[in-house]
Amino acid sequence: MATEDARYRSSSQYRVWSYSPARLQELRASTNALAKQQIAPHLPADPAPDFVTAEEELRLVQWATVELLRAGEFLGIPTEIRATAAIFFRRFYVTNSVMTYAPTELLKTSLFFACKAENHHMSLGELSSKLQGTTAEQILAGEFLLCQGMRFCFDVHHPFRALEGAILELRRQAPHEEERIRQAHVRTREILKFSPLMTDVYFHYTPSQIMMAALQMVDAGFVDMLIPGSGSGDDTATAAYTQMRDRIMGAIANCRTMLEEEPPSRLTEFWITPMKPLRRKLQKCRDPARLDLVAYQRSKREEALNKEKKDANIADDDVFGGGGSARDTKRRKVDAVEDPFGPAL
């Protein structure tokens, strides 16, 4: 296996979940158009339904992402897993409309599923009891849809580890700058916890590019230290290096421009109030068939069950079931005993 770049290119984050901005916009426009087309027949025709646009959908997803991050923090879910949940959530809404599936529901499902995907112990019961007015059934109702929307890619590469690496490297290169490094570390991490999750940078840039862009916002000199210029010399190797560096710095600059649209201060400063009109608008154009996800999933299940009965293909669970599940219950108990308090925070 060759370079780290080659390795990243084999990741699902690159293979399945990286798009050009134009392509991403196109996908969102399709999602929005399809949803309208499906929902229109179910809403009163007069006056004509006022659907949210693709741009408005995106704003609603951003708003709900803030809610997701706040809920994740409230639940004591570690930073990286909150970030995973946020990315799951945002990926879901590339090919699903907020008019079809309520973001306020799916954000809980995303948190729950991210905990499972990242080995963070958080039982469904625990989660639903901590989230006001949410049942376990509601959280589960969206799970399958979420997985399908994520195209069954459960691994997310974040920029956090890249930052730790960069900080180690800076400490090595500039041992006398400890305080400046410490501050850059803290402030860059603050940005990474928020801005990349609120923008589309995960769809367009690699984790290390995102990290460099955030670090550049905080202390551009450190980025120059990590990606030094070539100095003088005019041989071909130097030229190639300079060309490569320019490309990298160009990507970092573009990524940075996107991050700067959503600085961490937005988390507390701005979102809630101005969103109300848009949320009301959404309420009026939601898919009536999928307002109640629990009921919707129940009917789907029954449909499938009836079909299965017709197929008369039920026997095996009874034949093998006993031993397997008993053993499995045991295993779950063992796991619970192993980590009564879950991992350290």
Partner: protein
Amino acid sequence: MAVSPVVTELSRPATELRAAASPLRSLASGQASSNGTPKPVGALRKNMGGNPPSLDLAEQMNEDEKRKWVKGKKLGEGTYAVVFLGHLRDDPSTLVAIKKMKKVSKDYEEGMSHDAIREVKHLQELQHDNIIALRSVFSSKDQNLNLVLEFLPLGDLEILIKGDQQRKIPGVRYGAADIKAWMGMLTRAVWFCHENFVLHRDIKPNNLLIAANGELKLADFGLARGFADPYQYMTANVITRWYRPPELLFGAKHYSGAVDIWSVGTIFAEIVLRNAYLPGGTELEQVKLICEAIGTPTEDNWPGVTKLRDYAVPSTNPVRGKAYYERTFEILGPEGADLLMRTLTLNPNRRITAKEMLQHSYWLAQPQPTRKEDLPRKAGGEETMGADLKRRPGVVEEDRGSRIARKLDFGAG
């Protein structure tokens, strides 16, 4: 008690809604994507003639994925999965195994099982000749998960070693060059996992499947996980007992790729002996076997070991030296014996790593490894692949009772 910050729904507007779920929605047809990358659905064509109900973009993409494959005969069925033979629609010569995960209701209380999530998560990321390839994932109408895996028809390493008792097929004959070839492929698979920061945590002979071209493939990632951050606890209850390293038997909460290397070492020995090397019937016995066959973990050979939660040993035996390995595993030659000894080092911090294994002189010594096409093989393993895949991924049996019992037992002695 603080109140959850999750917003509640705005009160629903009292608009009258037209009859809910309607059967006849307009239809938009999906477009096939050639390479798994989602294609935007540009044209929202209306399809007359009462075909399937209209689909969301997400559903269309799923349909596109599903339509690439043709499901054939059933290869096997278990509690947790049904396995079908299948092939690529556009190229019937590309065979696959389609593993349809069942939702066992009792397990489904917490939604999709951890095993299924882990298997999909890691196989999506790991592409290597010696790791089973996940070609696609899609959902079927009944909301079940379908994994499209490469078809590996020649059984697994366990069958090559021991034969298939049920079907009365003896194991195959093999020699030093074959062992080297299999071990090389296994080591590369494990190296690749670790290089990608994944611990497999259930390496054993029947998780090593054999492809039509003789290539060995590591399968079953139901217990796998990413490397933990330094502060994070991990469960010690992983890896099937016979292949479980001493640090896990002693209840370590922090561990590394070294756990998989121990499993590789026990398999290495098993291939030579044609019998499980350390077949403990209980955890208690497992520790005893390790102490007898390899040596007793002590503060001398493994500083800190006595601090592990479940540390208890029945007796103090010296650690076996190289001469023992050369004698017992003569067929491996001195280099092979040395490599085996290093994989079975008690102290995980001193155990050889996968990368170091690949750099070992064993691979360069005579004999050269057999070319994969020339490896001894079994015929007709379709049913075996069915059997291998229908098992629940990553189940490690037994409970903690035995560990406590051991503590009491050894504690007294």
